[in-house]
């Protein structure tokens, strides 16, 4: 099976001369559809760089990035933007919702940017919000929502449409533990629908929700492991009441 996200010998170097910093060194990583991978590592290990390169927000210095069977370096800027609209959903630690747009408009924005009519996009946006329990907050602006609600809106925006790859950079970093768990549950649910997910986190507890944990240090993958079954798997294995 072709992995949905494939990184081949990816390296990333920032700056030049004495200011040169190597953020990633020869990274090879595959993420299959329906798989949730957690990236862990100390600060400066290259976690966020890996995610931004995987999400086509920046280009690797060397190596190849394949998303859904397409080599990103072969694509023009506009085509990469189209891929971000259609195939890649991004969740940021600090939500990154656009002020001035309601929750529904924020969620439907990628669809509208892709040419879907405002009415149809809004219907899809409200549907995504309703699935995440925010149907009644669809008309609220970001500054009228709590932190947990904002992150749920951000997740709704990341999964709306036919997204195949979900990338989350410390999605629970600005949330309390209850909201953090809820967000992880949502990401897990999305992956169950066949979405490939990659999350960057410092929190081992949250990483336990992933199918696989990848450890980074100094820009290299130093270890990969299959995460122990999370609380949800325990619930899932319990006999029906």
């Amino acid at each position: 099976m072709t992995p949905l996200l494939a990184l081949r010998a990816v390296s990333k170097v920032y700056g030049t001369g004495v200011a040169e910093v190597t953020a990633l060194r020869d990274i090879d990583l595959d993420v299959d559809a329906g798989e949730l991978v957690a990236i862990m590592g100390p600060s400066g290990s290259g976690k966020s760089s890996l995610l931004t390169i995987a999400g086509s927000l920046e280009e690797p210095t060397t190596g190849e990035v394949w998303v859904d069977g397409t080599l990103l370096s072969d694509m023009a800027r506009n085509d990469r933007a189209r891929m971000r609209r259609r195939s890649i959903g991004y969740v940021f630690q600090d939500f990154n919702l656009l002020p001035g747009l309601t929750a529904a408009e924020n969620v439907s924005l990628p669809l509208e940017l892709d040419g879907v009519s405002a009415k149809a996009a809004r219907a899809a946006g409200v549907g995504a919000l309703t699935e995440l329990g925010l149907g009644d907050r669809a008309a609220s602006f970001p500054d009228e929502l709590s932190g947990g609600e904002r992150q749920r809106v951000a997740i709704a925006r990341a999964v709306v449409g036919e997204r195949r790859l979900l990338l989350a950079d410390e999605p629970t970093g600005a949330l309390d533990s209850v909201n953090g768990e809820a967000v992880m549950r949502l990401l897990r649910t999305a992956c169950k629908r066949g979405v490939a997910g990659v999350i960057v986190t410092h929190d081992a507890q949250l990483a336990s929700w992933a199918d696989r944990v990848v450890f980074l240090r100094d820009g290299r993958i130093v270890d990969q492991t299959v995460a122990p079954a999370g609380p949800e798997s325990l619930l899932a294995s319990r006999p029906a009441q």
Partner: protein, 813 residues
Amino acid sequence: MTTSNGGVAARRAVVRWAARMFRREWRQQLLVLALITVAVAAAILSAAAAYNVTPSNNGEVGSADRRIQLRPDRTSSLDADIAAINQWTGPVDVIGHRPVAVPGSVEMVDLRAMEPGGRLSGSLLALRQGRYPRAPGEFALSDGTARLLDVGVGSTFVFDGRQRTVVGLVENPSDLDDEFALVAPGHADVPESVDVLARGGGEGQGLPAELQSRVRPERIGATEKTTGAVLVLALSTVVLLLIGLVAAAGFVVIAQRRLRQLGMLAAIGATDRHLRLVVLANGVLVGAVAAVLGAALGLLGWVALAPRLEEPAGHRIATFDVPWWVVAVGMALAVATATAAAWWPARAMARVPITEALSARPPRPKPARRSAVAAVLLLAAGFACLAVGIDSTKDEANPALVIGGILAIVLGVLFASPLAIRVLAATAGRLPVAGRLALRDLARHQARSGAALAAISLGLGIAVAIVVIATAAAPTAAEGNLSTRQVLLRAVRSDGPGEAVPDHTSAELVTMRSEVERIAAGLDAPTVIALEAVVDPTSRETTRGQVVRPAVALAWQVSPHTFRDAGRLYVASPAVLRRLDIDPQDIQPDTDVLVTRREVHRVIVPSKGPNAFREAVKVQVIDAPPYSSMPTVLMTPEGLRRRGLAPMAVGWLVESPTPFTDAQLAGARHRAAHTGLTVEARQSQSDLTVTRLAATGAGMLLALGVLAMTVGLVRGESARDLRTLAATGATSTTRRTLTAVTAGALGLLGAVLGIGGAYLAIVAGYFEDLSSLRQVPVLELVVTLLGVPFIAVIASWLMAGSEPVSLARAALD
């Protein structure tokens, strides 16, 4: 089907977001909005005024394009002539004229016979009060005529040998200075001449040959109203272009503020075109709002101004006779200016890498070398264009080169701004920590601080240019018409016969002389010098009811066939020579004229008609004060005799040891008016002073507005540094110092660049006559150079006490 850019739906979504952001953050764009609004309002108001200064119809022929003057006293029949013209051109309007002397006055009144509401002459007559005359013995008067005759509606009196009743007040709406008495046509008032107004008729074919031999149809061109409006519009375009540069700086600031949001947009799949559209849409919105506000403001201003403009324009003005196409073009220009101004920030922001945009880090400053080279080239090109394009000695200019030169210098200053900031930041190493941080932050945020600096420089540069040019145009204390210690009392009424010399009787002169003594008695120990002009004793004429003699003037030869007026010739009396410290013994016996410049001079005697230029006169050069109204062009008594000319009293020069006060001058004018004298004192330079002060104030306000917009942003985004400083023990004084140094540095750099750029442009413009710039407006320059940074430092010190609002907003975002 969708494109890679998402088509209309995507553009609509992006524009909707831009509109929402404009609604949320319009206050931050108030400066740009205000500038464009004021420019549009001023353009529309000025264009409407320029358009309406010219009347819609000719004040003499109305909407006719042909006037044929007939003389009824000829042997031919007036009616037959009119019928022939009618047949030639189609329907005509007929206006009869008969000048009638006003009893007891030299003034004449035009007794005019015409039908109201004529097809061609309708715009030449309007009723203001009462009714039009219908019967013999009735007439309607224009205001001036009613005043002259001292009558009103209902008055009955004998005029032109007939008992008449004033039944109304009328006017010529196309020429308010046209004074006349209207009578009903076809009655007993036989006209002395008749104007037949017609339209069309070709080149004379169809007019009976006999009539063609007697009359000469006069072609009247249509009035051209649009030229003034077009010129105003062209000037407004240049002004808007300059405002566009300030607006670009404003949009850079706004775009930088939204950089993180643009990064978010890009992260969810917006293309470069979408990102550009966000900033461009903001520009279009700002332009559209400013255009609507400016147009409304301009039109309201015009509605208020139009009635007040009628008297100076000399004709009635229809309030809504506005060049609407100019309004539309002005509004379109405002939108185009704002859109064009937003283009560069839009392009720059779309190029910022997504990860850098998301982190809201300022883009890495580009090396200043390239912009420095561009600045030098542009400044040199601008200097060359202005130096070649302006000939200050002949007051001639090539508009294309002038506009090109100004734009090149403005762009040169724009490109020099990043270099100036880098140079300033390089000096930061020796400053205390707050100053060091402030200057280095300016360099870190070079994109916005550079744009803001360019806008500040531009605002101050324009103001300084106006001040320097106004100063160059103003005479020094040693120039002008007279010194502040002199007044010239002319023996002529203020509405007197121009350059001609009134032939006063001895009794009148005695009365005037005693009045001059009385005026002088109210001053501080003055000297009174009687002045005599040179006149032709053989010539005498009547002008405005006064007997006058044409004054003899002197001309100096510029080229073989060109002469310039050297001024009125006065008689070199002993008193005048004493005043000028000239010893009569030093004057050569064969000298005709004493002058201050050594050229070939000729005497002009107006009464000699075509032979006014006589042979060259023998001149002797003297040193005399350069005041233009001082008697410094003098004819010697021997010269008078040799040329057959005569002296005639024209006034008195009164000099005081101390400058005259306004009260003394007002008193002198009051007394002089009662005796038929006219007072000339040093012409006030208050207009230019007001211009200089207004320009300085406006430039400083603009600069401080841009500063406020920029400093708040730079400091707001350096809030983390402030927290770090606070954590290491820095007090609120540090925050105040940081903000004050940021504002002061930008203000000082802006003033230096603005003054430098302005002087570069002006020196280029006056390249062939740099002596005009010897007067330096020191006060205004010092106020600009020190005032802007000083006010910026004080204001930012006072306002930097509280935490920047942008911190709270950043958290919410």
